[in-house]
């Protein structure tokens, strides 16, 4: 499985040769757009890379599959939308089915293992984000933050300090501790399943 740092298959020397494309997907209300914004702020403000975050508006944004896309590069980002995903987070079966075909062959697939029961590949990471949020933190709403912790751990695309700062900057007052715990839970759970 490929990670951000181990990407060597692209030979071109263009400024965005290290371009890394992420999609966070699930259903409306799971906080995926916010997770996309937090990830983009972590990468862009904390780590100092270039980053663009896009999303789909209109009927698609209400109910059904919801998504936030994040494109990251050390160099200038030309095309702002995703072309072939290096990483896909799917929090629902529908999102997994719909967006799996948009992935690179060696891309990283991360799914919510309690909600996504039929995964179209054997090469994936599964963690029960929603169940962890409910049982370990006590609020389902932080499933997105747990997922961000897992993404940081599994892909290394964002540094841990940067994602922590970004989560805390966006956490509503009084929820900082819960969000911090959720993020760290995501990291520690991901460490257990990470391939060496």
């Amino acid at each position: 499985m490929k990670t951000a740092t181990a990407k060597t298959n692209k030979k071109d020397k263009s400024p965005d040769a290290d371009r890394y494309e992420i999609r966070l997907s699930g259903s409306g209300g799971q906080g995926l757009i916010l997770a996309g914004v937090i990830l983009a702020e972590g990468v862009g403000i904390g780590d100092g890379k270039n980053v663009v975050q896009t999303q789909s508006y209109g009927p698609e944004a209400r109910g059904g599959a919801s998504r936030a896309d994040v494109v990251i590069s050390e160099g200038e980002i030309y095309y702002p939308k995703t072309m072939k995903l290096d990483m896909l987070l799917a929090l629902t079966q529908e999102a997994c089915d719909k967006y799996y075909p948009d992935m690179q062959e060696n891309g990283t697939l991360i799914v919510d293992s309690t909600l996504v029961t039929q995964v179209p590949t054997k090469k994936y990471y599964g963690l029960p984000f929603t169940r962890l949020a409910r049982e370990e933190i006590g609020i389902v709403m932080v499933a997105n933050v747990i997922a961000l912790g897992a993404i940081a751990e599994l892909t290394g695309i964002v540094s841990k300090d940067a994602i922590r700062d970004a989560v805390l900057a966006r956490a509503p007052r009084g929820t900082e501790e819960k969000n911090k715990r959720a993020l760290e839970l995501g990291m520690s759970e991901a460490r257990k399943i990470k391939r060496k």
Binding site: S14, I45, Q55, I77, K81
Partner: protein, 379 residues
């Protein structure tokens, strides 16, 4: 690596707001419309904080009217809208051209005609920017393609409108308006900010539409003690309606020459890999970014292709464009409409150059692969 300075993740629309504040905007009147609403939202939050004014008007006709009024009272003024609202504004935009009132109008383009596609991207108002209101005038239209450029082109729009006493339109699009991008907000003083020229003559000598050597007249504000008339009727240098042929011609020449004389300063382009290019892709707004990506992909396949992005769509600098096209035998004009700027490029392209149109009008962004396919097709 940590960036220095004021780094923010901003939507294109939010960057327009920050740019407007940087340029010294003090007044915003508008009527919210997708996909431009975030500009009105941002202005409603920030204008009161700097002692400026935000008004949500009854419609877009009222909005542009209020903007023209505020500008004549001495405020740097702006509105933001999308296709249907831009159509409603046309009559009063003509009034702003005729009365030489500086103002900035941002059009976050969506699909049309009519109510069209509120949440989908298009670039189909490009000709409306040039010919939207009736009569002869010279329009200035800027087209950014990133959050950073939304900021800087909005600043530039204010500068040009103040400098030349004319409305300036900034044309973005749904994708650009809504996407969030990391940018460093320029420090104070990093970008130039221009304020309109005020009269320095005794009150009784002042002429609101004086034909000066630069064709731009100094502008007094309402209430400063100068006497003049403001009218949409073709007028003399004091602003009073005229039917004298020479005065009519002088007025219309003034509207044209105050812009055309300074084309070198107004026109702004970006080029990529044009030095040895046989094929050029011309595009603007979000599509320009797809073009840069496509050019890289084509270069990896050893195709000698380059990209030209006009930031100033109107007026198009014909001489510079011809120069940039150099020895290109083939030009592709990629736009999200059924072919608008391509007509202008056909008109100005050198005789030996073949011009191809690449169009998409299904509410989706043009992809780099689509452009790459076209490059291969025309080779």
């Amino acid at each position: 690596m940590t960036r220095k300075g004021n780094v923010k993740l901003l939507q294109g629309n939010e960057a327009c707001v920050e740019g407007a504040l940087y340029a010294g905007a003090q007044f915003f009147a508008g009527y919210p419309i997708t996909p431009s609403t975030e500009i009105a939202e941002g202005m409603s939050r920030l204008m009161p904080q700097i002692g400026g004014k935000f008004i949500q008007m009854e419609d877009e006709i009222g909005s542009i009217a209020a903007v023209i009024g505020a500008s004549n009272a001495g405020c740097k003024s702006m509105t933001a809208t999308s296709g249907p609202g831009f159509s409603l504004m046309q009559e009063n935009i003509g009034y702003a051209y005729m009365t030489e009132t500086p103002c900035v109008i941002i059009n976050v383009q969506r699909g049309g005609p009519s109510t069209g596609l509120p949440t989908k991207i298009a670039q189909s108002d490009i000709m409306q920017a040039r010919w939207g209101t009736h009569g002869d005038y010279t329009a200035v239209t800027l087209a950014p393609s990133s959050a950073r450029e939304c900021f800087s082109e909005t600043v530039r729009a204010f500068n040009l409108s103040e400098r030349f006493r004319t409305p300036v339109t900034v044309f973005t699009d749904e994708v650009l308006g809504h996407m969030r991008e990391i940018m460093t907000v320029p420090e104070e003083g990093e970008l130039p900010v221009f304020d309109r020229i005020k009269p320095d003559v005794p009150h009784e000598w002042y002429r609101h539409f004086e034909i000066t050597p630069s064709f731009v007249s100094p502008m007094a504000s309402f209430g400063e003690g100068y006497r003049y008339n403001v009218s949409g009727l073709t007028h003399d240098q004091d602003g009073f309606p005229t039917a004298v042929p020479s005065e009519i011609k002088d007025k219309l020449d003034k509207l044209r020459l105050k812009i055309e004389r300074y084309l070198d300063e107004i026109a702004s382009f970006r080029t990529e890999m044009m030095d040895d290019a046989h094929v050029a892709v011309i595009s603007y707004g979000t599509v320009a970014r797809a073009s840069y990506q496509a050019v890289r992909m084509a270069r990896d396949r050893r195709i000698k292709v380059g990209a030209i992005q006009p930031f100033t769509i109107w007026p198009l600098h014909e001489v510079k464009l011809r120069e940039m096209l150099g020895n290109c035998r083939k030009v592709i004009v990629a736009e999200l409409n059924m072919g608008q700027l391509v007509h202008e490029i056909r008109r100005v392209a050198p005789r030996h150059t073949e011009v191809f149109a690449l169009n998409r009008y299904d509410g989706e962004v043009m992809t780099p692969h689509q452009i790459l396919d076209k490059i291969r097709e025309v080779l």
